[in-house]
């Protein structure tokens, strides 16, 4: 979905704002929903949220940027995530990161310029018995080997 830029285009958010009584207390919930609806928090979107909640712009951006899960640019088409929680870390997360970086030609935390793929880490998915874990486009790879991971990455749609 193309991301709207004009305030009147954020109609889908109206129901969310009403449900939360346009209360500044619900800013984080509203940011979650905004990101779900429009895939990332663009400046026009943040401006719209700030206006509707009657909050200063810097307060909205300052809050959103505090939290890792909010994005300020469109998500990549393929999202590759390595778990670097303790259990995964001691059971080979570093090798998986290396394999990812090599195969994708990206550094941890980066997103390819053309928006094809991004590489990030998460600190524990809570299913540590299957360490080490990766997550590609929402699919969990458990007890992941580097070789298996390399094969998996080759199969990603261009």
């Amino acid at each position: 979905m193309p991301v709207p830029t004009k305030p009147e285009s954020f109609m889908a958010l109206e129901a969310v704002l009403l449900r939360h009584h346009r209360s500044p207390d619900s800013l984080i919930e509203i940011l979650h929903q905004s990101q779900n609806l429009y895939s990332y928090l663009s400046d026009p979107l943040l401006r719209h949220v700030a206006t509707r909640l009657k909050l200063p712009l810097s307060r909205v951006k300052g809050t959103a940027s505090f939290y890792h899960l909010f994005r300020f640019q469109p998500p990549a088409r393929h999202r590759c995530v390595v778990c670097t929680g303790t259990a995964c870390q001691i059971q080979g997360a570093s090798a998986l990161i290396e394999a990812m970086e090599e195969s994708l030609g990206l550094q941890m935390g980066d997103r390819r310029g053309d928006g094809w793929v991004s590489l990030s880490e998460v600190r524990c998915l809570g299913t540590c018995s299957d360490a080490p874990l990766v997550l590609i486009d929402g699919t969990v790879g458990r007890q992941q080997s580097s070789d298996g991971l390399r094969r998996w990455l080759q199969e990603l749609e261009p």
Partner: protein, 238 residues
């Protein structure tokens, strides 16, 4: 108002209930170094420079927010505290790019003054040389992130006194940065009233008047502090 008697560095002090240890110490002529604190603004206790020892507790307490209590025995300048203050200042110096020789605030910088107070002549920790921008988009003022110590005084004065809330803290941890508006150039933020209060309260040369060159920033935050104090006293009066 009921009175509390306490001892600060061996001096007997009597203070009103609700006074902070910092205020009580100042009234007794004991100087405790501060950076994030500014009278009249809400306290945040973030710089940790004003930590003091209180007998009977092994946790250090920030004087800027700790209220006095009856019979309290406070030490403000033990060797342990001196060492801590020196380290705090070192952490701040190595975190940014503070080159006093070319700074507008040279000679009028609270960070520099505190460094002298605590006797920090060199850093034992490595300098980090971060890559930080300078924002010169505002007509009259500039912001040099290299000199920002993230005390948030500008954020608070703009919000609590001017009511414009141009500034806020953004991102987190070592990536923390002061932003204007939606992380825009300062000059592009409509909410700014050009009042200059943030420049006035900035303890370093991070916020400055554009015309100023080396050592020309003569802001005296205590002047504004007195103003804010008077304003708060008025607000609190019944």
């Amino acid at each position: 108002m009921s009175v509390r008697t306490l001892r600060i560095d061996g001096r007997d002090v009597a203070s009103g209930e609700g006074t902070t240890v910092l205020e009580a110490a100042r009234d007794a002529g004991v100087a405790i170094p501060t950076l994030c604190h500014l009278e009249g603004l809400s306290p945040v206790a973030a710089c940790r420079l004003c930590l003091v020892e209180i007998e009977g507790s092994n946790k250090l307490q920030p004087a800027c927010i700790t209220p006095v209590s009856e019979g309290m025995v406070v030490h403000t300048a033990t060797p342990r505290l001196r060492e801590i203050r020196r380290t705090v200042i070192e952490l701040l110096f190595t975190e940014g790019n503070h080159v006093c020789a070319v700074c507008v605030a040279n000679g009028h910088c609270e960070l520099q003054d505190r460094a002298v107070d605590v006797g920090m002549d060199h850093a034992r920790l490595p300098y980090r040389f971060p890559d930080r921008p300078v924002d010169l988009s505002h007509q009259r003022f500039g912001l040099d992130h290299n000199r920002c110590i993230l005390c948030s005084r500008c954020v608070r004065v703009c919000d609590e006194v001017e009511g414009a809330h141009v500034w806020d803290m953004a991102w987190r941890g070592e990536h923390c940065r002061i932003i204007a508006g939606l992380d825009q150039p300062w000059g592009a933020v409509d909410a700014c009233t050009d009042c200059g209060k943030c420049v006035m309260v900035c303890p370093t040369g991070a916020l400055f008047h554009k015309g100023d060159s080396v050592a020309e920033k003569h802001e005296d935050p205590s002047r504004l502090a007195a103003l804010l104090q008077a304003r708060r006293a008025r607000q609190e009066a019944p």
